[in-house]
């Protein structure tokens, strides 16, 4: 895997290797130069020594070997070889065992300046230096004689020099390998040690799962470069946790809000099924009330998610605030009077704003309704509107009981209620959340404060002239939830209404509940009208009881005998006579119903 640690180690080792190669080469180069220079200096010394052996004798050049040190005692490691030529090219002297001519004289081998290498035919290499010897010549009268020169070439086997250079090179390579080996072991350890905080941070991040977002990164021992990273991660985690907690709470609340009505529906249905005949008209109304309650809940949630109260929002109009508030107050005044509440409306007749009428009405309606609902009996509600040049502020204040400062931020939370029991069906804790969502739609803000005296004030602030925003933004959770909830709610309500014998009766649904067949019921019914003929027979719910109902015509009798047989027990439920006039009325009623 490509990691910072591996990359860093690779880069450091590559760099180290490159530097080492350069250093080794440089050191070797310098060492080699120094060694060769020393070798050459020695060779030149030898050259000068050999040159001194060239003498003038009787006007001729002679080579006096006695002046030479023993060749084998040469200061160079190798044996010294030499060859001397006269100016004419005639060889004057050479080393005793020199089998091959050295460069110089008439050999045709070129001389080079300074010392140089010369390869012998036997393959060995000599280090060669050459010079000119011009011994002084003195005539008999003491004057200087003719000047004569000799070419002197000295050579030394360079193997000892090469051996030394090889040793130096090996020593350098050995030291380099040892150095590389050591650093290859040490560098990863150092890198790992120094990157430990980063690796630790990465491991901690890796361990964060959906279930452990409450974890936080400690910044105490982190290096300075990582502190901002960890801090920012902590901030993100906090925000994520808060969001998830809010969503989880919302899901819990949503589930909770639906659990109780569903439990109520289910219990009603199961009691009716288990004890047929217990279903009364009141149960129909209860089922309807539960369905309506759930429908209202879903409608409110959808409105929050979409930020629209109904179908007609989206246009801005000039609103007379005084008139709007009075319109809102009017239907609530009876309830306020009942609770002995006083309302003080301080809104000028000149107070006009331009905004979405449906949204502003919904927001203010919610605030005022809440005030009427939650103000302590005999309390005073105050509604004020203050208009500036560009913006407006509307305040709805009322005294409340049992509300604390800690509750204030929760007022706008979906499903939040001071009383968590959810008793009653009117308030589900969505009103202020809705109002705030609507306020945002008209570019306004809705805030709440609680005074030390227990007066809660809801403040709506916004621009005097606004254009409503687009209504395209939907809240994804509700967008997904609502269809899945609405379907079952409608189905449950329909099923229960069918079970209750309401107008939505389905023959198939009823037939599934019957345990007595039509034929069996007919036989039982005919025992109450001997000799009769079944004119009509149907399965229906009568007062919550599932019955087969037969109209039987008996020859010689103008009346119709209506016999009802319990579709579950097979018992006769009722026997009634219907006169022709009754039959006509029933037909008319059925026609009107359909």
């Amino acid at each position: 895997m490509k990691t910072i640690r591996n990359q860093l180690m690779r880069r450091i080792l590559q760099l180290e290797f490159s530097l080492l190669v350069v250093v080794v080469l440089a050191v070797f180069h310098v060492s080699r130069g120094a060694l060769i220079r020393g070798f050459d200096e020695n060779l030149n010394t030898q050259l000068r020594a050999v040159s001194t052996a060239v003498e003038m004798e009787n006007g001729h050049l002679v080579f006096d070997r006695t002046d030479l040190l023993p060749e084998k005692d040469s200061t160079t490691s190798g044996r010294l070889m030499f060859q001397v030529w006269e100016q004419s090219g005639r060889e004057l002297a050479r080393s005793e065992d020199l089998a091959q001519s050295l460069p110089g004289g008439a050999t045709g081998l070129a001389l080079k300046a300074g010392a140089f290498d010369f390869r012998l035919t036997n393959g060995s290499t000599l280090r060669v230096a050459s010079g000119v010897a011009a011994p002084a010549s003195t005539n008999a009268d003491g004057t200087s004689g003719p000047r004569m020169e000799a070419t002197v070439t000295v050579a030394v086997d360079r193997r000892p020099l090469d051996a030394t250079l090889t040793s130096v090179l090996l020593a350098l390579v050995g030291a380099s390998v040892a150095f590389m080996g050591t650093t290859t072991l040490i560098i990863p350890w150092v890198v790992r040690k120094e990157l430990a905080p980063l690796i630790g941070l990465a491991e901690q991040v890796q361990e964060i799962k959906g279930t452990s977002i409450d974890q936080r990164f400690s910044t105490t021992h982190l290096p300075g470069e990582l502190v901002p990273v960890a801090s920012r991660l902590n901030e993100l985690l906090e925000r994520l946790e808060a969001t998830l907690t809010r969503e989880r709470q919302f899901s819990d609340d949503l589930a909770h809000e639906f659990r109780t009505p569903i439990a109520e529906l289910r219990s009603l249905a199961e009691v009716a099924i288990k004890w047929p005949g217990t279903w009364g008209k009141g149960n129909d109304e209860e089922v309807l009330a539960i369905a309506v309650q759930m429908e209202e809940l879903i409608t409110s949630l959808l409105a929050i998610s979409r930020g629209v109260p109904g179908q007609n929002s989206g246009s801005a109009e000039s609103i007379d605030l005084r008139r709007l508030i009075e319109t809102i107050w009017e239907p609530l005044s009876a309830r306020a009077k009942e609770r002995k509440l006083i309302c003080d409306i301080q809104v000028s007749t000149e107070s006009r704003i331009r905004t979405d009428p449906a949204l502003i009405r919904s927001i203010l309606g919610n605030l005022v309704e809440n005030a009427v609902e939650y103000t302590a009996t005999g309390g005073a509600i105050q509604i004020r509107a203050l208009l500036g040049t560009d913006d407006f502020n509307i305040y709805v204040s009322n005294p409340v009981q049992d509300l604390t400062q800690a509750d204030v931020p929760n007022l706008f939370e979906r499903f939040w209620r001071k009383d968590p029991s959810r008793t009653g069906t009117h308030h589900v804790g969505l009103g202020l959340a809705l109002a705030r969502a609507f306020a945002a739609r008209i570019g306004a803000t809705l805030t709440a404060t609680l005074s030390a005296e227990g007066i809660v004030t809801l403040r709506l602030s916004g621009p005097i002239d606004i254009a409503p925003r687009s209504t395209e933004k939907h809240y994804s959770v509700m967008k997904n939830i609502s269809p899945s909830i609405i379907g079952p709610v409608v189905t449950i309500a329909s099923m229960l209404l069918i079970g209750a014998g309401c107008s939505t009766d389905s023959l198939e649904a009823l037939a599934n509940q019957a345990t007595v067949t039509k034929e069996q019921a007919q036989t039982t019914a005919l025992t109450k009208a001997p000799g009769g003929t079944i004119k009509e027979g149907e399965l229906e719910k009568e007062n919550g009881r599932l019955v087969w109902s037969f109209d039987i015509a008996v020859p010689g009798d103008k009346n119709i005998t209506e016999v009802q047989v319990d579709a579950r027990s097979g018992e006769i439920v009722s026997v009634e006579k219907e006169t022709p006039s009754d039959q006509a009325k029933e037909k008319a009623a059925d026609k009107a119903k359909n």
Partner: protein, 225 residues
């Protein structure tokens, strides 16, 4: 068996209350935590069906306070909260069972039935005493192989006596466990129900099972008197 249903939803009070009554329980209903606690402390209910989210005192507080008084009434928690934490908290607070809304009525009845049996140390729904067999599920009574048809109140009384077979049960205990608050117990109603019960249980050559202990109460036992 007497059950106290503490539930703030009127609809659930009605439907669950009816289901329990129809299943042979004497049922009292409380709409909030304070009333529920007061009732639970005042009487020895066999089972307390307690909603958790109640106005006034919440169900968890009711349960804790009830346990603090030393009451050992079996408690079935009923709630819309279904997280493991909620369940664990409820059970740790002293609940005997936990049921999440929405629930199947049959399951609620089965759990109440199980808690009632546990209240008297019985594990089976079949109570047997001498030649008497009582099926607490089907609410049927058979003696010496012959079915005996009893009225609901007679059955409740017999089941209660059978649960406490071998023990003397006072009239007030019968009134507490067999009659709910909405029934006005006349001075001789227990005596008259017992008389009817004895008559129906008397078969040719059978031994009397329900005996009267003067000044103490009644006992279901073989022999006696």
């Amino acid at each position: 068996m007497r059950v106290l249903l503490v539930e703030d939803s009127v609809r659930l009070q009605q439907s669950v209350g009816m289901a329990l009554r129809r299943s042979g329980y004497a049922v009292d209903v409380a709409s909030d935590g304070e009333e529920g606690l007061w009732r639970a402390e005042s009487l020895d209910y066999d089972v307390l069906v307690l909603d958790l989210m109640l106005p006034g005192l919440d169900g968890m507080t009711v349960l804790s306070r009830l346990r603090a008084t030393g009451k050992k009434t079996h408690v079935l928690l009923l709630t819309a909260r279904d997280s493991v934490d909620d369940r664990v908290r409820g059970l740790k607070a002293g609940a005997d069972d936990y049921l999440v809304k929405p629930f199947a009525l049959e399951e609620l009845l089965a759990r109440v039935e199980a808690l009632c049996r546990r209240a008297y140390g019985n594990k089976s729904n079949q109570l047997r005493f001498d030649d008497l067999e009582i099926d607490t599920d089907g609410k049927t009574v058979v003696r010496a192989g012959q079915p005996i048809k009893l009225k609901p109140r007679e059955y409740q009384l017999l089941e209660y006596l059978a649960h406490r077979a071998g023990q003397v049960v006072s009239q007030s205990e019968i009134e507490v466990h067999v009659y709910s608050d909405d029934v006005e117990v006349m001075s001789n109603v227990v005596e008259s129900t017992l008389s009817s019960l004895r008559r129906k249980m008397t078969l040719p050559n059978s031994r009397p099972l329900i005996h009267t202990r003067r000044g103490q109460g009644y006992i279901l036992e073989v022999g006696g008197e």
